[in-house]
């Protein structure tokens, strides 16, 4: 054992040093936008409970240029979350059929298919299709 080992502590800016860490932080940051979207829904429900005028004024704000920008940013970060989440699923939940491991791309593909199905269904129920 050394008489004087030298310790190099991890700098606070460690996550800025490499692309893989920056991408990790971006992925983690998506949670703020998931939370923000929940807040938007909460406010929507509150305004809904306060009557027609209140709800319509909430929608007017949400559909204003600033509101659209907010929705677009939340949408973008939510998509980053969805993609990173689905891509990692085979690692967390490997699937075995008999003595074969289901290939990762199948598990990921099934999730993307489900995502598409659920999205189409929601838009249909909302009246858009």
């Amino acid at each position: 054992m050394s008489n004087r080992p030298y310790i190099r502590p991890l700098p606070t800016s460690w996550w800025l040093k490499e692309g893989r860490y920056v991408r990790y932080m971006l992925r983690e940051a998506t949670c703020l936008f998931v939370g923000l979207h929940a807040l938007v829904l909460m406010i929507g429900i509150l305004r809904l409970s306060q009557g027609r005028e209140a709800f319509e004024s909430f929608l007017a704000g949400l559909w204003s240029p600033a509101g659209q920008l907010l929705s677009a940013v939340i949408l973008l970060m939510a998509v980053v979350h969805s993609v990173t989440w689905f891509n990692l699923t085979p690692k967390a939940m490997p699937l075995w059929v008999g003595d074969t491991k289901v290939p990762g791309w199948m598990i990921v593909g099934a999730h993307y298919a489900g995502w598409l199905a659920v999205s189409v269904l929601t838009l249909y129920l909302a009246g858009g299709l």
């Binding site: 949670c31 939370g35 979207h37 659920v118 858009g128």
Partner: protein, 115 residues
């Protein structure tokens, strides 16, 4: 070393992550962008229609479940990321993150009850 209680918050994080991964994009499109972009009409999100759906018992239940699980997902991930960027006061971080999720849970319940 004791067995951790993290499974509780991690379980909520994982459930919220899955729910939000599937639903948040289409919700943001439906609620925030579809009408301005003309994919839905104003009537589709009219007060009467939205109120009828949201105040239905199933509507209340699903809204409550979905909104709160998203809050707990965000809370746990925020807590771990705050640690990553160098803030190591875990009890303070925990209290703020989970406290806010808890507050959000209560408020969501109240708002839905008021519908």
């Amino acid at each position: 070393m004791a067995r951790s209680n993290k499974p509780i918050v991690w379980g909520l994080f994982a459930a919220g992550g899955t729910a939000s991964a599937f639903m948040v994009p289409v919700i943001m499109i439906t609620v925030g962008l579809a009408v301005p972009f003309g994919w839905l009409s104003v009537e589709d999100l009219s007060y009467d229609r939205v109120h009828a759906i949201a105040s239905h018992p199933l509507g209340r239940l699903i809204s409550f479940g979905f909104i709160t699980i998203c809050l707990w997902h965000a809370a746990h991930r925020t807590r771990t990321t705050v640690h990553d960027i160098g803030i190591h006061n875990d009890s303070a971080t925990m209290t703020i993150c989970y406290g806010m999720a808890g507050l959000g849970t209560i408020l969501t319940g109240i708002f839905l009850f008021l519908l």
